[in-house]
Symmetry: D2
Subunit: 114 residues, 4 copies
């Protein structure tokens, strides 16, 4: 059923970046699988928070804590993807040679570290 | 039904805080509904990221961006819950009188702002 | 000599906020003195980083660490000022009565927490 | 005169990292000069905040704002040093060859981004 719905929030049409094709900078299989596993766990956690909120007497701070915990789990996903990205760039720096572009791309990616 | 499934990630048994009963500091219905709506949307967004990751050629930075967007959505949930919490404390400060305890509780809640 | 120079970076003319006079929300003497002491210490730390940078062979990560440590010290200043601010608002909430305005002011102040 | 005072806050004896000598990863002169200029400006800003605090009627939120502005200036210093550090690592990756070590060092440096 979920498959029939638009895959993402309306504001975010999830366009595939042109970089992917250009540089062949794909996620290595291990990092991709680890990310999937962690994101599924974060989704389960989020479902738990939604169940908490069904209780009208839920305490504010308990919700704040759990939402922050989900954010922490998402930060770990981004940390691991960023590490894979840095590794790719460093490993291919010699062949590519365009140090400035590589540095720009890495600094751009760092913005998504949280 | 929800009660039969484990309510959350194993590390987080989600104990109901003693504060809830003590101070009656519950989420007001409007903030609770808004939080549920926003968290459902964040969950849909997360499912979209999981579908992205099914593609072996997904680009690292695209995933980083989407995960950060989900975190931003979760921050808005906590911002709105925190506002409700602050409002409750300010509104009842006169009856309660224990300024120091109120300030401690508010400063504690602020830690979950992200 | 410092007194003859403009008191702050050009972009920041440091106008006294209209709120100060309006609500009488001044820093209590103890927090003000503590802030002065901590900021002087942060300034000393910053001077230490400047001396580090006189050495042409200074290592990047050493500078990154020290600059981050100064930022941490500044965060503690803001944490303590924020606590004083919250205390003032909670303590006077009963007399003032305008809960919405108080909440808006507190949420505004929270933005400066880092 | 400054040289006679302890160079830094007591908790931070500022030991020169062993990495500096080992890898020769020094700050390039341009980034070093830019950092000095920016840190001097941050120090001037901090002195401005200290003068603000001499006024017993200073408004809390005005201080919070200025302290946060100083932190923002320090973040820019670290951003620029980090960029220089990434550039060094990428540029020398081919000669060094030890991708894993380079990635570890870069990920370590990222922790100081704020």
């Amino acid at each position: 059923m979920a498959a029939r719905r638009p895959p993402m929030a309306p504001a975010d049409p999830l366009p595939r970046s042109a970089h992917a094709a250009e540089h062949g900078m794909h996620l290595d299989p291990q990092t991709r699988e680890e990310s999937i596993r962690r994101l599924r766990s974060a989704k389960g956690h989020l479902e738990g928070v939604l169940r908490m909120l069904e209780d009208p007497s839920v305490y504010c701070v308990d919700v704040l804590k759990q939402v922050k915990a989900v954010q922490g789990a998402l930060s770990k996903v981004n940390e691991s993807i960023l590490r894979a990205h840095v590794r790719d760039h460093v490993a291919t720096a010699a062949q590519r040679g365009d140090t400035d572009t590589i540095v720009d791309e890495l600094m751009e990616a760092l913005k998504y570290r949280t």
